[in-house]
């Protein structure tokens, strides 16, 4: 009961802030709403006993990436709203189609998930070790799984980040 109340309060706040992010006049205000939005999402992770993911959400998104957004927004100084795009109508249509596609996907997942809910509990959570649900072992379990079962995807992702970093340095430096 309490869990549901917390979830729905958070859900309303997160959606409301999401709307504020795209509707705020000043770009800096948008970024601020985005920060609060990310913090609330982190609380949502805590209610799911995913403490590690919650902290990483705050550290990487709220504390890292959005700071970069803020720098960009501050330095280009968007005091007024940017000029209206010439072809607003086509943009609107594209947006509506994209939003519809995402909505269909979500509905599809929910419906197929509901269809499977009478399957035995073991079949649904296949591949997920039981101990992950214990919050006190959260970090340790993620570490184990990351460095054993998902070692290669993890290493590939880190290579990708390294390449992106070198690319950024090459772009920024005129003469190396």
């Amino acid at each position: 009961m309490l869990e549901a109340a917390v979830f729905y309060t958070l859900a309303v706040l997160i959606l409301g802030l999401g709307i504020l992010v795209i509707s705020a006049r000043s770009a800096v205000h948008s970024v601020l709403f985005l920060v609060v939005n990310f913090l609330l999402v982190a609380i949502l992770y805590v209610t799911l006993s995913a403490q590690f993911v919650a902290v990483i959400q705050v550290l990487v998104y709220a504390g890292g990436i959005v700071v970069l957004y803020l720098f960009v927004v501050m330095l280009v100084s968007l005091k007024r709203a940017p000029e209206q795009h010439a072809d607003t109508r086509r943009l609107g249509v594209t947006g509506a189609v994209l939003a519809g596609a995402v909505l269909l996907e979500v509905i599809g997942i929910v419906v197929s998930g509901a269809a499977r809910s009478d399957a035995p509990a073991g079949a649904r959570g296949a591949g997920v070790p039981e101990a992950i649900s214990d919050p006190m072992l959260n970090t340790e379990q993620i570490g184990w799984v990351l460095y054993t079962e998902y070692l290669i995807p993890f290493e590939v992702a880190s290579m990708l980040l390294l390449v992106a970093m070198i690319g950024a340095i090459v772009l920024a430096k005129k003469n190396l």
């Binding site: 205000h29 601020l32 920060v35 403490q51 902290v55 504390g63 890292g64 720098f71 970090t139």
Partner: protein, 332 residues
């Protein structure tokens, strides 16, 4: 009901008040120690040896007029000091003042990461405070401050990882317990990490010799130039609360937290008469004194020197320390 709500609420109330009182007295301590270092007397007028100055200063700040510049972004201008103070206070919820659950608000599994994550939110207060003033010196100062914070955060976090490798846990209570089991403070096992975290802490809290964001001679004050009255006081509180946080983290990770010196030597057991929280607070004040001592001693870095130190000295040393810790951990 009592266990889940009332006791934590009481703990939080005690903790918040203790931190705020500690901040006001730290300001007095700073003025006194600086004065002694320069062969002056410092504040002497209010109370014996000026001790009541710690109460008069906040009253003065509350009574002062609170001005919002006309060209400022009013909404952000109001939010910025709050955004810098709240994370600084939230961090204290995971700082353990003793082995008993009564001495800490929460012992979470990701304690150290939580501290790193929450303190990284504090940078918004600085950036937005400088930006929303709509004035050139605060903007310059806030750009400096945030660049400095982000650069040194990398080195500090990287160093914390080697301490986590040594202790095998992220929980702060667990880290102190690990030191008890090891029979030695981590400051002796990880001396490089100890020095790195301390230097990084100086830089992250914008203290001398890394106080470029508040270089009065160049910036007429810093990111809070346009602030006055209580809103200025909030920035001030946040800054000193952050110094106390850094001191507490260093004391917990490297000096055994609430434990007495030589916890495994039986002959010193009489030291246990002093309760654990006094040990931790004593260690915190030792670091606060060192912070002030450094301020009275060292000149300020130039900006390029500061960046070079962060990126080309501290981060490579932190990575090297991490690799060596890993190798030793595997071999031993």
């Amino acid at each position: 009901m009592l266990e889940t709500f009332i006791i934590p609420l009481l703990q939080i109330a005690v903790l918040l008040n203790a931190v705020l009182v500690a901040v006001t007295f730290m300001v007095l301590m700073e003025r006194k120690v600086m004065a002694w270092a320069q062969a002056r007397l410092g504040p002497m007028r209010v109370g014996p040896h000026g001790i009541l100055q710690a109460i008069v200063d906040p009253i003065k700040l509350i009574l002062k007029e609170d001005i919002t510049p006309v060209a400022a972004d009013k909404w952000v201008f109001t939010v910025a000091p709050i955004m810098s103070l709240v994370p600084a206070l939230v961090v204290f919820s995971v700082v353990p003042f003793g082995p008993d659950p009564l001495y800490y608000v929460a012992d979470i599994n990701v304690g150290l990461l939580f501290i790193v994550a929450v303190t990284s939110i504090g940078v918004y207060g600085i950036i937005l405070g400088g930006w929303s003033s709509n004035s050139k010196y605060p903007l310059l100062a806030s750009l400096r401050a945030s660049a400095q914070l982000i650069s040194y955060e990398i080195a500090v976090t990287m160093t914390l990882v080697s301490v986590i490798l040594t202790s095998g846990t992220l929980s702060l209570v667990g880290i102190v317990e690990a030191q008890r089991e090891a029979g030695v403070w981590f400051g002796f096992i990880q001396p490089v990490a100890f020095v790195l975290v301390f230097i990084g802490g100086l830089a992250e809290t914008n203290r001398v010799p890394f106080d470029l964001p508040e270089a009065e001679t160049e910036l007429t004050g810093g990111f809070h130039t346009e602030y006055s009255g209580m809103r200025f006081a909030l920035f001030f509180l946040a800054e000193y609360a952050n110094i106390i946080v850094i001191s507490a983290i260093v004391a917990i990770m490297f000096l055994g937290g609430w434990m007495r010196p030589f916890p495994n030597v039986e002959a010193l057991a009489f030291l246990d008469l002093i309760p654990p929280w006094i040990w931790l607070i004593g260690k915190i004040f030792l670091f606060l004194y060192v912070f002030i001592w450094i301020r009275a001693t060292l000149p300020r870095y130039r900006y390029d020197q500061l960046m070079r130190l962060g990126w080309k000295v501290l981060i490579p040393i932190a990575i090297g320390n991490l690799v060596i810790t890993g190798i030793v951990k595997v071999l031993v």
